[in-house]
């Protein structure tokens, strides 16, 4: 049993190979714990405050498969995206999307590489697709009442459970890149890029070797939840 300092219970947990991510039911703190596989002891690795306000509560949480993005949805519709430098798991808030939704966020899912985020919310709000390429600033919205979701990296699709129906409706949608020079033949979520460019963060661009927090473009297949 792991004791935490969360207030209002531990409302969300998320697991990876050797970490447990958690959010309190009535606070604005998220925490990450690390397992010492030799001693079998879980230790607090990172604690981030200010992930929300005193007037809202956590309603959704997800970590990308490569553990580059940690998304936290709140009851007021805000989404916080946390990141960390490539050389440490020192998490901090990278982006705050105020009013990401008009009502409580029901679910957040990142693609495994952390480049795309799909979220749904209560209040008949849209399912929204955002991309790291423009720092999550704009969304493409779909008129689906998204209650739950899960990312399928093998087929590059998201499964979305719906609300507002009496028949248990759910749906699958492909993530597809809109390409001027052709789609990657083996992955419809990526475009073919011009010579000298590569596909990362959801778009074609020059590969730069600058070290900047939250850019972490190197991609590995992480341990799925």
């Amino acid at each position: 049993m792991i004791n935490t300092t969360h207030i209002g219970g531990v409302s969300k947990v998320f697991g990876t190979k050797n970490r447990i991510y958690s959010a309190g039911g009535n606070d604005s703190v998220v925490q990450a714990r690390w397992l010492n596989t030799t001693t079998g002891v879980w230790s607090l690795n990172s604690s981030v405050s200010g992930v929300g306000t005193s007037s809202d509560t956590v309603s959704a949480m997800y970590v990308s498969g490569n553990q580059k993005r940690w998304g936290v949805g709140r009851s007021n519709g805000d989404i916080y995206i946390l990141g960390h430098p490539d050389n440490s798991y020192s998490w901090s808030i990278a982006n705050t999307i105020t009013g990401a939704h008009t009502a409580s966020v029901n679910f957040i899912r990142f693609s495994s590489n952390g480049w795309h985020m799909i979220s749904g919310a209560a209040g008949n709000d849209s399912v929204r697709l955002r991309t790291k390429l423009n720092n999550w600033n704009t969304s493409t919205d779909y008129p689906w009442k998204g209650q739950s979701g899960d990312w399928d990296d093998r087929n590059k699709q998201v499964t979305i459970g719906l609300y507002g129906n009496d028949n248990g409706a759910f749906t699958t949608k492909f993530l597809k890149a809109n390409c001027s020079a052709g789609t990657n033949t083996s992955d419809i979520s990526q475009c073919q890029c011009p010579a000298g460019q590569a596909w990362f963060n959801g778009g074609c661009g020059l590969l730069l070797c600058n070290s900047t927090n939250f850019t972490n473009i190197n991609v590995t297949k992480g341990y799925a939840d």
């Binding site: 792991i2 947990v13 899960d150």
Partner: protein, 143 residues
């Protein structure tokens, strides 16, 4: 980037889940098994071609509303929590409840961790219960 239509599905008939919602969906890491829940019903869907699921062949009816479930990455175990009491349900072979574990406080969330033989459960009392599989009897216990 866009989300393009693929397939639409229904867990039941027109009025089988009145005032319900598909509260949780989850695929295992092989992306061949999908489980969905609405109200007290948990359904299992098997992949019939890439990313396409056939009609659910198995389902489990709980006594309470299913809140969340997660496949272990290899799909051999499914951990389930409902809005009843303090129990975590462990299911095997995609339909049968194998055993339950009492985590003492109301479970609020769950997630597989480490080598997939551990399940982390966020509790209403502010703790995280870590349930570990005991190989000798192939059941989970509070660690």
């Amino acid at each position: 980037m866009t989300l393009e239509p693929h397939q639409d599905y229904f867990m039941g008939g027109a009025t089988d889940f009145v005032n319900g919602s598909v509260l949780y969906v989850n695929t295992d890491d092989s992306e061949t098994r999908l489980t969905t829940c609405d109200l007290k019903t948990l359904q299992f869907h098997t992949n019939i071609s890439a990313g396409v699921y056939g009609t659910a062949t198995n389902f489990t009816q709980f006594n309470n509303t299913v809140q969340q479930m997660r496949y272990r990455s290899d799909g051999t175990w499914l951990a389930v929590r409902t809005d009843n009491a303090t129990l975590i349900y462990f299911m095997k072979n995609s339909s049968a409840i194998d055993h339950t574990v009492d985590v003492v406080s109301t479970p609020k969330s769950l997630a597989w961790v480490y080598d997939d033989d551990m399940l982390a459960v966020g509790l209403a009392n502010g703790s995280i219960a870590v349930l570990q599989r005991i190989a000798s009897n192939n059941t989970f216990h509070v660690h």
